[in-house]
Every structure is written in structure tokens, then in C-alpha cells.
């Protein structure tokens, strides 16, 4: 049983998704309990992989369909012929994030989404989104990566357009599907270029056989830039605020994780597929690093400058998602720019690795506090019936739990100690300062503006006199919503109080999985 764990993590939500309509016939409660058990099973299985993969710095290879799945080349050939799944530290790290946010989003949407005949399809699409994300993060095969990315895009686009009676959500779903279709088409062009040269889709085989000719660098660009567009980097980020604001609140929390799965693709391609720092003919890491750094710095600044002047609460938070993605790109970009081996690798050992640790730790922190902020914005929008900040006032008199959760999320995103945003931002500031002081100063200035915009949201939504004539919806928050927001609050506070434990257990194996200096 435990040797088939990698494929079970992908298959169990898939089978549950297809059993959902039959379960809904049996009863509504049966369907809800079945989905809860499926998502809990996924999380438990992911947590059980931690001792082998993370604490021992190991890697699990799983060949799909072979008689002995755990051997690397089961038929004894020199050329891999089946689809191989590979779980190393970075894949498990992203898988844990996806599983946790999926559990919280499901608990939140237990009572938040109304039962009107479409809710079964909502749960099916949420399970398919989880399958797409985890399959994308666990695979070692380029075409499999493309197929899982399509599964993820189609289910995300359908969930964005969930409220089909309103004016704007179907158009937002159309925009999301358009962006994903173009991104995956260009990705397939890059994969085709690599296949035509090496005859295989396996990432490890291509890594060993790679001679970095002009055609390979073109393939890298065709694969990297559309994935950066799906992750929300400047200047291809304009779809992010339009789509994140029209989706229902728990779906937006999972869309953040879906964008981070594309960011996983960017890092996996530039390190594990094209990475060979001691070869003399490889790509120029300094230039690739600077391209990613420039994308990151522009994302940070434009994201937060646009977020300061928004009237719409979810559009404001979506611009902050773009801005925080810039932090991750900046951290890992500095790591790439000084990535070298041997005696030229002193800079990498001293501060490049710490920058990468900060960037990758920021991925987990961002998923948790941004998910918390979107969930609280769901409560705010449901109460006032509008997303306009000018028409909101005085919610803290009624909903104290939501106000406390919002304060925790807002302080975490601004980088205030002792929450988890501060730990990863401190690592990024210190190491980027050693690389170039100007970038670190821009990052700190962006952090100040982030705090300013969240003070604006807290001021208009929560503070002020109590006005019951503006409240449209007076039913109390259900237990599922409180448990969901509570789990994320507890995780934000605990990861802020014990960052060293999280870095040792989860982030260091992730770095070891990416950076293999041969």
C-alpha cells in the first residue's frame, strides 16, 4: 500500500470527483462527508511522506504501470519509456501547500456556497483542481506536466465563472481560459522543440543529454515566459485582478495556489531541466537571474502602486497577490544570478542560498496569509452586498472573529513580527542587500505601501460607527467558515513563532531538490 502512495495521491481525488454525482443522489450530507474524507486522506498521505522525502533528503521515483514501480528503470533499459513520477523536497513542499489550502477552502465553502443544484459541480471542479495541482507538482514527464496544467486551467476557469447569473463572472472565466489556452499552446511548442532533439519527454533524461544550443535556449524561453504569465508576473499580469475579483471567495483562495503551481513550473524548468552550473556551454545564469529579478522588482512596485488606489476590495487583494509574487521572483532570481559551483560559488554559499530559502519560504507564507485575507473578504462582501470600499463601514461591532482574522492576515502580509511574513521577508531583505542594496530598499518601500493599503481596507470595512442599515445579510458565520479561517490563523501564528523549524524540515530539502551541483 505504501509503495503505491504517489499514484494514490493523484487517483483518490479523481475517483471521488467522478463519484460525486452518485453520492449527491444518496444525500447531501453523504456527499459533503465523502469529500471531507477524500481531502483529509490526501493531507494525511502527504504528511506521511515527510519523513522519507524531507527529513532524509530523499527522492521517490514511481513508474506508472510497471510491474515494480519503485525501481528507476524497471525493464533494465537505458532509455526511460514510461511516465515517471518524482517526489523530491520541492514537490512535497508545494503539494503540502495545495492540500492545506484545499482543505481550508472546502471547510469554508461548506455553508458559504448556497445549495442551488450547482454545488455538486462546484465540489467536482474543486477536486479536479486539486488533482491538477498535485499532478503538476509530482510529475517528471514534460507532456504529463502539460496535461495536468490543462486540467488545472479548465477547472479553474469553470470555477471562476461559477455565478452565471451575474454580468461579469462568465467574462472573467473567458479571460482565464484564454490566457491558459495561449500559455499551454506556447508551452507545448517548447516541449515539441525539446522532443524533436532528444527523443524523450522525461525531464531527467533531457537534463543529462542537454547540449545548450540555440534551439534549446529558444525552447526554454517558450516554456518559461508563458508559465510566468500564468503565475502573474509583470507585464503579463493584467488578467489577475479581473479574474480574482469575480470568483467566489474560497475559489480565489485556491486560485492563488494554482498560480503558485505555475511558479513551481518556472523554477523547476530553470533549475532541474536546464541547470548545469559547471558546464562551460550552459546558459548564462547571471543574465537569466537578472531577467527574473527585473520581472520581480517591477511586479512588486506596480502591484502595490495600483493596489493603493482601488475601490474594490477583491481587486485590491488581487493586486497584492501580484506584488507578493514579485518577492518570490526576486528571492529566487538573486539565487539564480549567483548560481555557480566550486570556487566561484562562494557568493552562492554565503547569500544566494539564503535568498532562495527566503523566496521559497515566502511561497508557503503567501499561500496561507493571502488565503486568509481572501476568506475574510468573502465574509465582508457577503455582509455588505457590494465590493465597493466606499460603501462599507463598521463591521467590527458585529463580526469580531473576522476582524481578528483580518488583522492577523494584514499584519502578516505587511511583514510585521512575529508573524510568518516577517521571517521570509527578513531573509530576502538581508541577502538581497548583499547582492545589490537598491533592490532591497525598493522591497522595503513596497512593504510599507502594502501596510498602507491594508490599513485603508481595515479602516473602511471594520472601523467606524455601527450602521445596521448598510448590512444586507445578517446570518451568523457558520462553523465551517470559522474552522477554516481558524486553521489558517493558527498556521500563520505558529509559522511566525517557529520559522527555524519550518525551514529545517521543509524548505532546506526543497532547496536541495532544486540545486544539485554535479
Amino acid at each position: 500500500m505504501s509503495k503505491h502512495l504517489p499514484i494514490l495521491i493523484i487517483t483518490i481525488p479523481l475517483l471521488t470527483a467522478f463519484m460525486m454525482p452518485i453520492a449527491a443522489r444518496v444525500g447531501i450530507r453523504f456527499r459533503n462527508v465523502l469529500m471531507l474524507m477524500a481531502i483529509l486522506a490526501i493531507n494525511i498521505m502527504l504528511l506521511s511522506l515527510i519523513p522519507e522525502v524531507a527529513l532524509n533528503f530523499g527522492t521517490i521515483f514511481y513508474t506508472v504501470g510497471a510491474p515494480n514501480p519503485l525501481a528507476i528503470n524497471p525493464e533494465g533499459l537505458a532509455f526511460p519509456i514510461r511516465i515517471i513520477l518524482k517526489i523530491d523536497g520541492f514537490s512535497l513542499f508545494m503539494g503540502l501547500i495545495s492540500g492545506t489550502v484545499a482543505l481550508v477552502a472546502f471547510l469554508y465553502s461548506w455553508k458559504f456556497i448556497k445549495e442551488d443544484g450547482k454545488k455538486t459541480y462546484y465540489f467536482i471542479l474543486m477536486l479536479l483542481m486539486l488533482v491538477g495541482m498535485i499532478g503538476l507538482e509530482f510529475t517528471n514527464d514534460l507532456f504529463n506536466f502539460f496535461v495536468f496544467m490543462e486540467i488545472l486551467s479548465i477547472s479553474c476557469a469553470a470555477l471562476v465563472a461559477y455565478e452565471t447569473e451575474e454580468k461579469h463572472p462568465p467574462y472573467a472565466g473567458y479571460k482565464y481560459m484564454l490566457i491558459s489556452a495561449i500559455a499551454t499552446s506556447f508551452l507545448l511548442l517548447g516541449i515539441g522543440l525539446l522532443y524533436a532533439q532528444y527523443g524523450s519527454f522525461n525531464m531527467d533524461y533531457i537534463h543529462n543529454e542537454m547540449n545548450h544550443s540555440l534551439l534549446d535556449k529558444m525552447a526554454l524561453i517558450f516554456m518559461l515566459i508563458p508559465l510566468a504569465m500564468k503565475a502573474g508576473a509583470i507585464p503579463m499580469h493584467m488578467w489577475v485582478p479581473d479574474t480574482y475579483s469575480e470568483a467566489p471567495a474560497p475559489v480565489t483562495a485556491m486560485l492563488v495556489t494554482a498560480s503558485q503551481a505555475s511558479l513551481y513550473g518556472v523554477f523547476r524548468l530553470s533549475f532541474s531541466l536546464f541547470g548545469n552550473p559547471i558546464s562551460s556551454i550552459s546558459i548564462n545564469y547571471n543574465s537569466l537571474g537578472w531577467v527574473i529579478i527585473i520581472l520581480g522588482v517591477l511586479s512588486m512596485f506596480v502591484g502595490v502602486a495600483m493596489a493603493l488606489v482601488q475601490h474594490d476590495i477583491k481587486r485590491l487583494m488581487a493586486f497584492h497577490a501580484v506584488s507578493q509574487t514579485g518577492y518570490m521572483l526576486l528571492g529566487v532570481g538573486v539565487g539564480i544570478a549567483v548560481y555557480a559551483a566550486g570556487d566561484k560559488g562562494a557568493a552562492f554559499e554565503s547569500f544566494g542560498k539564503v535568498a532562495m530559502i527566503g523566496g521559497i519560504f515566502h511561497i508557503m507564507n503567501h499561500a496561507f496569509y493571502k488565503g486568509l485575507l481572501f476568506l475574510t473578504s468573502g465574509v465582508i462582501v457577503r455582509r455588505f452586498g457590494t465590493r465597493n470600499l466606499d460603501k462599507m463601514i463598521g463591521l467590527a461591532h458585529r463580526d469580531t472573529f473576522t476582524a481578528v482574522a483580518f488583522i492577523i492576515g494584514a499584519l502578516a502580509i505587511a511583514g510585521i513580527p512575529p508573524f510568518n511574513g516577517f521571517a521570509s521577508k527578513l531573509l530576502i531583505y538581508e541577502s538581497v542587500y548583499k547582492f545589490s542594496p537598491l533592490l532591497s530598499i525598493i522591497a522595503m518601500f513596497v512593504s510599507v505601501l502594502t501596510l498602507a493599503s491594508f490599513v485603508k481596507v481595515f479602516y473602511s470595512a471594520f472601523l467606524g460607527p455601527r450602521r445596521d442599515d448598510l448590512i444586507h445579510n445578517t446570518e451568523p458565520i457558520s462553523a465551517g467558515m470559522k474552522i477554516g479561517m481558524g486553521i489558517l490563523c493558527v498556521l500563520v501564528v505558529l509559522m511566525g513563532l517557529f520559522p527555524e523549524v519550518v525551514i529545517d524540515v521543509l524548505v532546506e530539502p526543497a532547496i536541495a531538490g532544486l540545486v544539485t551541483i554535479r
Partner: protein
């Protein structure tokens, strides 16, 4: 000292121990609250007009709120030329989404063929 070393973040010029900070903050909070309750709040009467916000002498209730869109007016006016360009680009035009991706791919392909990347 081993448990303190275990709980701090110590790499590349960073030294950060959150547990000690929280303990210090709680001790300071305790001191301030206890001292405040003993020595202050002698002239604080709840349920009088003292708790209402200052209204320049008008006696009836008005809407005290400044609209949140006007909070950062100075910042926006200072960077007005930048904001005009940025807001014009974020209008929701589908053609612009792909125009920028094509521009960035073309720029990177030029960098590759120029030998820089």
C-alpha cells in the same frame, strides 16, 4: 542555551528569535497594563459624551467617515503621470494581455541571439 539556539533563525547576517520577542512583549504589556490601571483612568466616565468622537461642537450625529478612496490623495497626485499610464493599461482589454507576452518573448529571443542569455 541549546534550546535558544534551536529556536532562532541564524543565517547570512540574520539573527531573529521570535519567541523571545513575544515573551518580552508580554512582560512589557503586563507592566504597562497594571501600571495604567492603577495610575490612570481616574477621569474616564463611560456612558457620557466623553466617548464620542470630536465633532467641533455640532451636537447631532453626522457620518464621521472619510471615504477610503480619498485617504491617499497626496500620494496619488504626486505620482499622477505614472498613475495615468498604469490605469490606462489596466482597463481590461483582452488584446493587451497577449501583446505584452509577445513583446517579452520577442525581447528574450533577441537577447538569446545576441549572446547575452
Amino acid at each position: 542555551m541549546n534550546i535558544i539556539n534551536f529556536l532562532t533563525l541564524n543565517m547570512a547576517g540574520v539573527y531573529w528569535n521570535p519567541v523571545l520577542l513575544v515573551i518580552l512583549f508580554c512582560i512589557l504589556l503586563l507592566i504597562v497594563v497594571v501600571w495604567g490601571r492603577i495610575f490612570f483612568r481616574r477621569d474616564y466616565n463611560r456612558d457620557t459624551g466623553q466617548v464620542k468622537p470630536f465633532n467641533s461642537g455640532l451636537l447631532d450625529e453626522v457620518n464621521y467617515n472619510v471615504q477610503s478612496s480619498n485617504l491617499y490623495w497626496g500620494f496619488r497626485k504626486a505620482l499622477d503621470s505614472l498613475y495615468k499610464v498604469m490605469i490606462h493599461n489596466h482597463d481590461g482589454d483582452l488584446n493587451n494581455y497577449l501583446k505584452w507576452m509577445v513583446i517579452i518573448i520577442a525581447a528574450c529571443l533577441l537577447l538569446i541571439s545576441g549572446g547575452l542569455l
